[in-house]
């Protein structure tokens, strides 16, 4: 799943524009990850600061 490093995120919205699912939304100083996120990792690559990370959910 996608995890947001809130200590790194600068709330710039770069990730929002590249999300093919429209799952991200910038709400003032808060990045919201919606349920349509597929953990594709495109946003994590585009982030200028490295604030986004797709984490392995591990064994169920």
């Amino acid at each position: 799943m996608l995890s947001v490093r809130r200590d790194i995120c600068a709330y710039c919205g770069c990730c929002v524009s590249v999300c093919p699912q429209g799952a991200l939304e910038l709400i003032d100083a808060y990045l919201d990850v919606g349920s349509s996120c597929t953990s594709c990792g495109i946003c994590a690559k585009a982030c200028p600061l490295g604030a986004l990370e797709v984490k392995d959910e591990g064994p169920l």
């Binding site: 710039c12 590249v18 999300c19 003032d28 690559k45 200028p48 600061l49 490295g50």
Partner: protein
């Protein structure tokens, strides 16, 4: 805030502000809703704009001009440079703005003209009626209000959501987002009237790094790199930090911002029933420079001019709003986006050696008109072999 407006503008940047001001001036009822708690902050912009471009919308005022530009310099990967000037324009080619003050001024003007303005008010959904946009649900600190409007103008910037909620795909391809970061630095040596652009794969892959002066000893020092070149250990901030450490080791930091700039083609269609999309939300950014202030103001004004006619004639349907889409595409701005998009697509393929060679053979240029198109035309004129590399653009530069 009323329950109904002729026009509801989502977003209080330059595109939204000019849209609201224009609507009020035309006698329409209009409300501008900004999701942030303050107009103009945080700025996500290098703040450069041409002198003529800005004068078309607002009388230049020293209160929001940080620097007057007399020329530009492009630095090749090997350090050789090309100096650009324009005697014809009196060597006054552009400004570096203070967007915090500038954006507020535009919204003040919209308010003074009669527009309602609300901040910390976020559109959370469109009001849809059989596929037609009829307004928006606005959220203010937990209070929800449905505001209906004949036309909604989506001016919600690079991170736009409104058009997408209305069913329009606004996704920017990863390779066409400029992943960006910028410091406002002080105590660095610079020419206060010259912008400098650094190019090269090791400096800013598929993008550029900029130094835009903001006074005698301060500058916006920033970078944009292609999203596909970005990743762990080699992100925009990594490239920028290493450049600053080597060039301006003694500079002090006043501000740091990040951002995304789209350099894709504009949205295939910027209207729908009851909806118009302007500025960065419409992806009308210059694909070479990344500049978007003028384009946002230009589309913001034009959208409202068309909306006013559509509202007067009855139904602001997609057809009735379509002249906006057709007119901006056919304008010098629309044509220059298309031309610069094609030029950009070729220039990002040029190797560092090629860039070195081009810049070395020229050194100095006086441009009649200070534009990317004229620059490339001059480069070809002085370096005819360049046409081989630019073969796909032959029809443009014939």
């Amino acid at each position: 805030m009323k329950d109904h407006y002729d026009i509801l503008v989502i977003g209080g940047g330059p595109g939204g502000a000019i849209a609201a001001r224009t609507a009020a001036e035309l006698g329409l009822s209009v409300c501008l809703a900004e999701k942030r708690a303050a107009i103009g902050t945080p700025v996500r912009c290098a703040e450069g704009i041409g002198t003529e471009a800005i004068a078309e919308f607002v009388v230049p005022d020293p209160r929001w001009i940080s620097a007057e530009l007399h020329g530009a310099k492009i630095v090749a990967p090997d350090g050789s440079s090309l100096t650009l000037s324009s005697e014809q324009s009196g060597n006054k080619v552009g400004y570096v703005l203070d967007r915090k003050v500038f954006d507020r001024e535009l919204v003040w003007q919209a308010a003074a003209a009669g527009s309602d303005v609300v901040v910390k008010t976020r559109a959370t959904a469109p009001i849809l009626d059989e596929g037609r946009v009829r307004g928006a649900v606005l959220d203010f600190c937990g209070t929800t209000k449905r505001v209906s409007a004949d036309v909604v103008i989506a001016a919600d910037g690079v991170e736009s959501k409104f058009a997408r909620w209305c069913g329009i795909d606004t996704t920017v391809p990863l390779r066409e987002i400029m992943s960006s970061a910028q410091y406002l630095l002080t105590d660095l040596p610079l020419d206060p009237h010259v912008t400098t652009f650094y190019v090269g794969t090791s400096i800013a892959p598929e993008g550029y790094l900029w130094v835009f002066p903001k006074g005698e000893r301060s500058a916006n020092v920033g970078i944009g790199i292609s999203g596909r070149k970005s990743g762990t250990g080699h992100r925009a901030k990594d490239y920028l930090d290493s450049f600053i450490a080597s060039r301006f080791p003694k500079a002090k930091q006043i501000e740091f911002i990040a951002g995304g700039v789209s350099v894709c083609r504009p949205l295939p269609c910027t209207v729908a029933d009851g909806l118009m999309i302007v500025g960065d939300a419409a992806r009308v950014v210059d694909p070479i420079t990344g500049g978007g202030i003028f384009n946002a103001m230009f589309t913001g004004r034009m959208a409202v001019q068309v909306a006013a006619q559509a509202i007067a004639s009855g139904t602001p349907s997609r057809e009735a709003l379509m002249p906006y889409d057709l007119t901006w595409r056919d304008s010098p701005m629309g044509k220059s986006i298309e031309r610069n998009y094609r030029i950009k697509e070729v220039f990002i393929t040029l190797s560092d050696e090629k860039l070195n060679a081009i810049i070395q053979t020229v050194g100095k240029l006086d441009l009649k008109e200070f534009s990317t198109f004229n620059l490339v035309k001059e480069l070809i004129f002085r370096n005819p072999r360049l046409l081989l590399d630019l073969a796909p653009l032959r029809d443009i530069f014939k």
